[in-house]
Amino acid sequence: MRRFIISILAVATCAGAAETMPAFPTVRVNNYTTLKTWFHDAPHTTATFEMTRTMPSGRQLKSRGSFEFRLGIGMMWRTEHPVRNAMVITSKELKIYDAKGRNLRSTNLEGVPSARFTGAFTQEMSPEFLKQMERAFHVTCRTNQTQRELVIGMKARHRANDLRWLLVVVQRGVLREVYYESARQGLTKVVFDKVRHSDKVPADAFSIVP
């Protein structure tokens, strides 16, 4: 169950609480080719972020830090303020580190079916993964000359599923914002800055401690 929940929510690769949440698209067209193209166009992404989260109780949390995505390897979410920790997720495991780089918790995902789902973002957009996406999500792509939006929404709200919807805003091929609503975390808005996309994925390990 733990891995299942984590894997489903790992689709929400970025998080943040929204103050001015975009309207959820009413017209939904599954367009996985665009999604696949976007990921493959940006196999390596680094950015800084500012996250605003409004939790179910109404309490608001703000944080900032850095983000790194490596296609075929995994991703890292490093919070630098007001706490310092880092989370690394790959198709094999999920690890949380403290400010000194000490591993606080590890969750082994190897051999678990949902790890293939989780790993799809980090490794490949396989046909099987796309079928799974199609079963669970609507993906809408809205494109104009200045902006391309990718919207991923749940097709059905299962009680076991936490993610209600997710919106990724990409402008001129550059990741700008992510919005999502989670039953457990509330509304989250993430604004990215200093985004750098490159087609070369570094071979060294993630830098856990800045």
Binding site: M1, R2, R3, F4, I5, I6, L9, A10, A12, T13, C14, A15, M51, R53, M55, P56, S57, R59, L61, S63, W77, T79, V83, N85, M87, I89, I96, D98, L104, R105, G111, V112, P113, S114, R116, F117, E128, K131, Q132, R135, H158, R159, A160, D162, S182, A183, R184, Q185, G186, T188, V190
Partner: protein, 726 residues
């Protein structure tokens, strides 16, 4: 009519579970009750396995099957059920702690807990199953996900299905629960299982679990028995047509058997209150001996207008009844309910058949039954009557058989070995065992206590011992619901932690202790854990340990409240005890029959009469030894049938109540009828009936073939009996 009235008024309750036969074995009532509940729960659980190479295919197949499940069958891992469990446990989140959190609080390593809480709060994915601001430390999440009962195997819940990878293949496991009513009704279970099996056709789906075995075995037995019953009936019909040129005798015989059956059932219901299926099967088989009586009556009245039963025939019939009843009456001495039931069914049935013959046959004979033996039958009688052999030959045969048995007769009392499941079912069971780490079965520990809290405390103590002994996972109620003392202790520690980090990780927890969660609150709820309710009883708790840790259990401290229970071993011990008692009783019966016959015919004649019977019974033991087939309880029970039928053959051959040709023919027809009824059981697939069929075939054949050795043994005395005026 009286018997039918009794049955109508009283009703018939037939027990079918082998566990019903087991005595408490010195355990208290709650322990027995807990074990019975576990057996009953197991008897309703069907395990469905779907194999595939992709999640997509496996989940689609699983969903299709779940959506079409027959009414009454429900999956035990559905999302709604898991959600209900989650909600219930969440209410007690400050007092139900995982081992990891409890250890951290015990050692005072609270800084790590705070770091974890902050990671939860600021994580881009939620690491908690609950609203992160209500459970930032993840206590409830860890308690559920790190619980040994949830994580003990590699299964991952997904859309109400448990998934796992093994040897490069993906398996979906769906435990299904049949309704209570299916456990009580074989018909209902068969119907449900047939519907379920039709949904699960294909090489990618496997079904296993106790109901599948019950369904397959009972259906296979019923099919085999149906075919064999028809064959058996055709054989007997052909025999009667050939011997008597008419089937009217068969109708009378059918009426006799029906009357005997109803009376025997009424007797057992009146005396014992209920009847076990085994008693009914064996008892009714023994009642089949009464067909001999009918055959002797019919053959004795060849071409006769006198419907009365000749006094000599009457005495021989009574003697046959007496020897059989004497044999089965010894079952009462064993003080085993099952054996007493068999004795009641047999004695009451045989007596009823005899009364039916004495009271009604003379009335029916002239109008409806007059028979005339066919010429071929008369030739057969004349041929068989010419067989002669020395009186010592059966005893010599019996001696050789005994020596063979003493030399190398293997014995088996394990009921599991009697059952040989079909290869695909066996493969499914092995696959599931390999997936859930239960290749070597499950061991059961009983933890007793005066109060529920005491049992939980002892289970927690046992859990510590098991971990120290190297047992990483096990199932018990205390794993899910700790003792009240531990829950309160946890609550106080969490309260202290919340106060310590109130600024960094605010936690809105109650000031006062809200009370403990009780095992019944969880196990009796409408949730997947309800299927584990057998683990908990107010007087006794069960702890289930995988079979591979058998050695580790020996290292546990000896405690009066702790006991390892093995129901299979109990059952094996019980079966051994029954078999030994039956073998001793058979010896006693032999001696009693010898004494009885000595009183009638003198010791020498009695020995001559008993020779073929002894040879028939001993041939079973010797034959098994020769073929190196283990002796089972069912072979011994079959020997009683050989004893009853064989006695009749020898008595009639010895007393020679009719002209030699007719006696020989009557015994021959009796033998062929009995073989047609019981011998065909040897051709069934079910090992129990197969064992009985083989034993009866061998024993009866030997007893019949050697019965000429008793011919005329009581000739002089019989003449006196036949002519009382002299």
């Amino acid at each position: 009519m009286a018997a039918t009235t009794v049955l109508l008024l009283h009703g018939v309750h037939v027990n079918t579970s082998l566990y019903d036969l087991l005595p408490a074995g010195g355990r208290n009532d709650s322990a027995t009750h807990a074990l019975e509940r576990m057996a009953r729960a197991s008897s309703r659980q069907v395990n469905l396995l779907i194999k595939g190479d992709s999640e997509d295919k496996v989940l689609a197949r699983a969903r299709k099957i779940i959506d079409s499940l027959p009414e009454g069958i429900h999956p035990m891992t559905d999302n709604a059920g898991l959600s209900r469990v989650g909600q219930l446990l969440y209410q007690y989140r400050y007092q139900l702690l995982s081992d990891r959190h409890r250890q951290a609080l015990e050692t005072g390593d609270t800084a790590a807990l705070k770091e974890e809480a902050l990671a939860n709060l600021y994580s881009f994915v939620p690491l908690s199953l609950y609203p992160v601001d209500e459970d930032p430390y993840g206590f409830a999440t860890s308690f559920l996900l790190e619980n040994p009962l949830v994580r003990q195997n590699g299964f991952e819940p997904r859309d109400g299905v448990l998934l796992t990878w093994k040897d490069g293949a993906l398996y979906a496991y769906i435990p299904l629960m049949l309704p209570e009513s299916a456990a009580d009704s074989l018909d209902e279970m068969q119907k449900m299982m047939a519907e379920l099996a039709s949904l699960c056709e294909g090489d990618d789906v496997m079904l296993c679990g106790t109901p599948v075995h019950t369904w397959r075995a009972s259906t296979s037995s019923q099919n085999a028995m149906s075919v064999l019953s028809v064959l058996s009936l055709l054989m007997i019909v052909a025999l009667f047509l050939w011997v008597f040129s008419s089937l009217r005798g068969m109708l009378v015989m059918g009426g006799t058997l029906a009357a005997a059956g109803v009376v025997s059932l009424a007797a057992v219901v009146l005396l014992h209150g209920h009847v076990h299926i085994l008693a009914l099967v064996f008892g009714c088989s023994l009642v089949g001996i009464s067909t001999d009586y009918v055959v002797h009556y019919l053959v004795g009245h060849h071409d006769s207008q006198d419907s009365l039963i000749a006094p000599a025939l009457k005495r021989s019939l009574l003697l046959g009844l007496l020897t059989s009843s004497l044999g089965y009456a010894t079952f009462y001495a064993a003080q085993v309910d099952l054996l007493a039931q068999i004795a009641t069914v047999s004695i009451a049935g045989l007596a009823a058949a005899m009364l039916f013959i004495f009271a009604f046959y003379p009335l029916l004979y002239l109008r409806h039954v007059p028979v005339k033996l066919a010429p071929g039958a008369l030739k057969l009688g004349a041929f068989v009557a010419r067989w002669h052999m020395p009186a010592w030959l059966p005893w010599g045969f019996a001696f050789v058989s005994v020596m063979l048995a003493v030399w190398k007769l293997p014995i088996c009392d394990d009921l599991r070995s009697f059952y040989r499941p079909e290869p695909d079912l066996l493969a499914a069971e092995k696959q599931l065992a390999a997936l859930n780490g239960m290749e070597q079965g499950m061991l059961t520990l009983l933890v007793r206590g005066e109060q529920p809290e005491e049992i939980l405390l002892r289970q927690e103590m046992l859990a510590d011992w098991l971990k120290k002994a190297g047992v990483p996972y096990f199932s018990s109620a205390a794993v899910l619901v700790p003792s009240a003392a531990r829950q309160k202790e946890n609550f106080e520690r969490v309260k202290k932690l919340a106060a310590e980090y109130a600024d960094d990780v605010p936690l809105d927890m109650p000031d006062t202790w809200p009370g403990a969660l009780k095992p019944d609150d969880l196990l009796q709820s409408d949730s997947p854990f309800a299927s584990l309710s057998y683990l908990w009883d107010s007087g006794c708790g069960l702890v289930l340990v995988p079979g591979q840790y058998r050695m580790q259990l020996q290292a546990l401290p000896q405690q009066p409240w702790l006991e390892q229970a093995d129901r299979f071993a109990d059952l094996q011990q019980q079966v051994r005890s029954w078999r030994e008692q039956l073998m001793w009783l058979m010896g006693i019966v032999g001696v009693l029959v010898l004494i009885l016959l000595s009183l009638f015919f003198g010791p020498r004649s009695a020995l001559c009469i008993c020779g073929p019977v002894a040879a028939g019974v001993m041939a079973v033991f010797g034959g098994l030894a020769l073929l190196e087939i283990p002796l089972t309880l069912f072979h011994v029970l079959a020997c009683y049938l050989v004893l009853g039928l064989g006695c009749d053959y020898a008595i009639f051959r010895a007393t020679h109540v009719q002209a030699g040709m007719f006696t020989a023919l009557a015994v021959c027809v009796s033998f062929l009828t009995s073989w047609g009824v019981f011998g065909v059981l040897a051709f069934t697939d079910f090992s129990v009936t197969q064992d009985m069929g083989c034993a009866i075939s061998l024993g009866l054949t030997v007893a019949y073939v050697l019965s000429p050795a008793a011919t005329g043994a009581a000739k002089l005395r019989c003449r006196v009996l036949c002519e009382p005026g002299k």
